[in-house]
């Protein structure tokens, strides 16, 4: 029964459906939460889901890591190295920008003492 799950179409379906569900859970949290740190957590969950989608779409069942060796020289069974390189830099940049956003939130709290986004309306008047 578990042989049915090892076909490439079924694995691609699982990856796409799972990461899109994670994206929509993050979007739901972004739209309905009021505490500003929970909004940042939802943004980070959305970023994680996109990284999983990118790496999961180029996954074949009998593939090995893209590292050449004296024992592994057949490049036909290796994974694609281009998405790995792009996601590597995207993870680091995402974390740095998240740190900047959280430091803004900390400074704003020390200035006015509000964390609810419905009360942050200084620019409204």
């Amino acid at each position: 029964m578990f042989e049915f799950l090892n076909q490439p179409e079924v694995i691609k379906t699982i990856v796409i459906v799972g990461s899109m569900l994670l994206l929509f859970i993050g979007l739901f949290g972004l739209l309905t939460r009021k505490h500003i740190i929970k909004i940042f957590i939802s943004i980070a969950i959305m970023e994680s889901s996109i990284f999983l989608l990118f790496i999961g779409l180029t996954f074949k069942i009998d593939s090995i890591a893209p590292i050449l060796d004296s024992a592994h020289t057949n490049v036909a069974t290796m994974n694609d190295p281009i998405p790995h390189a792009m996601i590597l830099t995207a993870i680091v940049i995402g974390m740095a920008v998240l740190a900047l956003g959280v430091s803004f939130a900390i400074e704003y709290f020390k200035l006015t003492g509000k964390t609810d986004i419905n009360e942050m309306n200084e620019m409204r008047h």
């Binding site: 691609k12 796409i16 899109m20 569900l21 290796m78 680091v92 430091s103 419905n118």
Partner: protein, 240 residues
């Protein structure tokens, strides 16, 4: 004149949320059908790059893509890291002395003194062997920053001197661009590989030309910037 409190965000009704969920499922099915029937020509770009990677003499294909084939994007990404670290330093920097009265736990102090040199050694190993096994500059730099973080939370008067971090960061950033300019002079391409890189040396430590040198420079820059970010975040909480 009294100021009326205006709430910026209205509450989402349930019909909107259910319509949102249904449209999400529709996007899911359409994306699934589109991505399953991708033509197989897209898969051969990775194979061509893997064969081209063997001409550089580097064992780790991801390192070659990050440093050599897409080296200019890595330079831009380091610039983004620098801007983010600058912003955090502007917002959270504080020079006050430490006002915490209690020392941290005795077990934490002893264990952190034991673990700190091991973490630093591991981070340097991951950074230097980035072209032979999984790893590289980004990973090694962040490991070194986590070692500094361990010392920062266990000893209440420890801090990395500001001039050391600034010197390391400046040296790494300037030498990256200088190596690219030397490649421009020698080989007519920015960040060209001008040191010898034979295929017979694949798997040795000194192989691949300028690729391990650039990755070590990236590792130094990322490590020092992460240490500055971590120190700014923690030092603000010390003046209780």
């Amino acid at each position: 004149m009294s100021v009326k409190k205006v709430s910026l965000k209205r509450e989402l009704p349930t019909t909107t949320l259910s319509g949102f969920a249904l449209s999400g499922l529709l996007v899911l099915t359409i994306l699934n059908i589109l991505l399953q029937n991708m033509p197989s020509k897209i898969q051969t770009a990775g194979n061509a790059l893997l064969k081209l990677n063997a001409t550089e003499g580097v064992a780790n294909a991801v390192t070659t893509v990050v440093v050599f084939f897409r080296g200019f994007d890595t330079l831009g990404e380091i610039a983004v890291l620098f801007i983010a670290s600058l912003g955090i330093g502007l917002m959270l920097h504080s020079n006050s002395k430490c006002n915490i009265k209690a020392e941290s736990n005795f077990m934490l102090q002893t264990a952190s003194r034991l673990l700190f040199p091991i973490i630093m050694l591991f981070g340097t190993y991951v950074m230097i062997y980035g072209h032979l096994s999984p790893g590289g500059g980004f990973q090694g730099g962040v490991i070194i920053a986590s070692g500094v973080l361990l010392l920062l939370i266990s000893h209440k008067t420890f801090e990395v001197p500001h001039s050391v971090i600034v010197a390391l960061e400046t040296f790494a950033g300037v030498s990256y661009v200088l190596i690219g300019l030397i490649g421009l002079l020698v080989l007519d391409t920015f960040l060209g590989n001008f040191l010898p890189h034979d295929i017979a040396q694949m798997g040795m430590l000194l192989s691949g030309g300028i690729i391990p040198i650039i990755y070590i420079i990236v590792g130094i820059k990322v490590g020092s910037e992460m240490s500055m970010i971590v120190q700014n975040l923690i030092q603000r909480s010390r003046d209780v």
